[in-house]
Symmetry: C2
Subunit: 368 residues, 2 copies
């Protein structure tokens, strides 16, 4: 997608030094566009856990390149155990995101299938690039499938703008390109279908205010920022035609772990008969578990993310301010689980399906 | 209630110059405790519309004193039309809050019943003090009634802390004293019943983070600050025993207009069978309307309250920062309406009742 009119992905090998992987350090957006070089396994672990990168697909792609970095950095005489250690380090950075484990496992298998360090390094680079390309490709297809939903609503509204509410950032910044929840929106925009996006600001980290508004703005998509509290009121008054969110882990039964607060919007959508779709590449499925609310581990992050907020002062400096009485105890659950019963449908690279096991396995029969 | 151990109300006449009314300028809390003098009708209008004071009861009490100020400032030869103009100015400051209109109407009647300016001024001061005293007294009674709900849950939990979630600030800062939603909590705390409060930070204005945390802290009540997105997750996992909120306008059919986001918490409470109570002095009832969602006007405030946040820097200065791309369009609906079907009960100064017309009129037969 575009930044100041130029095409970017969210992660890419340096063209001249492909052992150096480049990312957009998203902590500084929307106020500064900073590109960071990742060179060591520790760089990758920090980038994921401290949210230089975030979002289902991008966490997966970054983990893929992290494993390449691990192979590249491993001493020949201790190769396997170094890579093994690194994989555990990477796995521990974020507990809820399924793509992370999925990418690490895919790399571990690929590396183990090769017989010598040089071949392992070469293979792990290829697989990392494959994961990234596949993520972009899957998101593009999600856009094509989701476009049909928006088209239908647009037709019903005689071409009046389709009002789409989204939570957090499941945009191209959360993947390698296109995004999941935003892919149908960008596809509609590019097909000259009028859309308008209600952007939940998404406390505590403000991914909506900082990232989704920024990327929609760069692409020229109409949008309005709202506090997370607002969606229910808008739906009560017919001001939302469709909700699309992403997901960080999805059960084959259709439960969805996504950014904290998603569940509340799903309840409001249900209460007001607004269609609620979740967009995901299949790498986000956890095929092992059945009950999302009981089984998906929910990451707890630092209380500082609640008590402190960073933004731009009038003097154009980024400043961090405290919004509560000093030393207020805060709890910071990063995700919640939306039960399948509240979800109208899942949009994946293979198509649109009901959020239940039968429908999911019909499109993914290899997981029966 | 207490500030640094000393008793305060939120609004009071200066003991030596009772024509000057004092308020706590809540915009500076929790970082600075600033008392402001109100001397002109314009002072009152700014204090209400710019939220130096806010909250159902305190808006009413401030409007009461504003009408005293209007009478006091009126020229003898143009008394009635001056007071009339002032009442319209005050009424326009906040459209959703019922207590505002209620207090202004009460004052207009009282003033009209007196025959000469001196008597009108004297009467309007008495009525303003009555409104304030009544508000404090009603909140105290709400505390007594609500205490029974908390007592029952505490007993069921064998004295383990009762986890109460609240949204916005319906604390003593929102009234003259005690608060509405917090009154039962303070009553429980003072009766040595263990309580723990989940405080929704309440974007955009952050009344929860800034005001509720501060006043609970001053009173020594255990609490944990959370992002507004979090309540659903907590309820799914049995971490909330009870929700209590306030209301800015209540229909006799039991619909409740309260701070934006209240409706989402009510949906989550319903979905997880968590009791959801709304506490209010009867001055908050709008006896004229029946359908809250359709008939209660919802205030829209400045987009700046979404795009900008004020807090304390590391250097102990209050600083305002921008959290979104500059010039992002934002929508700022200040309230939403929670339909009666989601509400377990209303707690008023007269007792606890179901949120329906029959039950409300049983306790308020004079409005039949």
């Amino acid at each position: 997608m575009k930044v100041h009119g130029r095409h970017y992905r969210t992660i890419w090998p340096d063209p001249e030094h492909p052992e150096i992987i480049k990312i957009i350090d998203q902590r500084h957006l929307p106020h500064e566009f900073i590109i960071e070089d990742l060179r060591t396994v520790a760089d990758y672990a920090a980038a994921i856990s401290e949210m230089h990168v975030r979002g289902a697909g991008l966490i997966g792609a970054t983990a893929g390149f992290a494993m390449y970095c691990a192979a590249l950095s491993a001493p020949e005489n201790n190769f396997d155990s170094f890579v093994d250690d690194a994989s555990r380090k990477i796995l521990q950075t974020r507990p809820t995101a399924k793509n992370l484990a999925w990418a690490v496992e895919r790399q571990v298998q690929a590396i183990n299938n090769e017989s010598n360090p040089a071949a392992k390094i070469k293979k792990s680079f290829e697989v990392a690039c494959e994961i990234a390309d596949e993520d972009a490709n899957f998101c593009r297809k999600i856009g094509e499938h989701g476009l049909n939903i928006i088209k239908k609503i647009s037709k019903k509204k005689n071409g009046e703008p389709v009002n789409i509410l989204t939570h957090c950032n499941a945009g191209w910044l959360a993947f390698v390109d296109y995004g999941s929840a935003t892919a149908p929106i960008y596809a509609a925009h590019n097909n000259n279908i009028k859309v308008h996006v209600w952007v939940d600001e998404t406390r505590p980290w403000l991914q909506g205010a900082k990232l989704t508004c920024w990327e929609l703005g760069q692409e020229g998509v109409e949008h309005t920022l709202i506090a997370d509290n607002t969606g229910g009121h808008l739906m009560q008054h017919g001001m939302v035609d469709l909700v699309i969110t992403g997901t960080d882990r999805t059960t084959s039964t259709g439960d969805v772990a996504n950014k904290i607060g998603t569940y509340l919007k799903a309840l409001a959508a249900k209460d007001n008969s607004v269609p609620f779709y979740v967009a995901l590449p299949s790498s986000t499925f956890d095929w092992q578990i059945r009950d999302g609310v009981k089984e998906i581990p929910i990451e707890q992050r630092s209380a500082d993310e609640i008590n402190y907020i960073t933004g731009l002062t009038q003097n154009n400096n980024q400043e961090t301010i405290c919004i509560s009485p000093p030393e207020t105890r805060a709890a910071n659950y990063a995700f919640d689980v939306t039960p399948a019963r509240l979800i109208t449908g899942l949009i994946t690279e293979r198509g649109i399906m009901r959020a239940d096991r039968e429908a999911v396995l019909e499109l993914y029969p290899e997981h029966r």
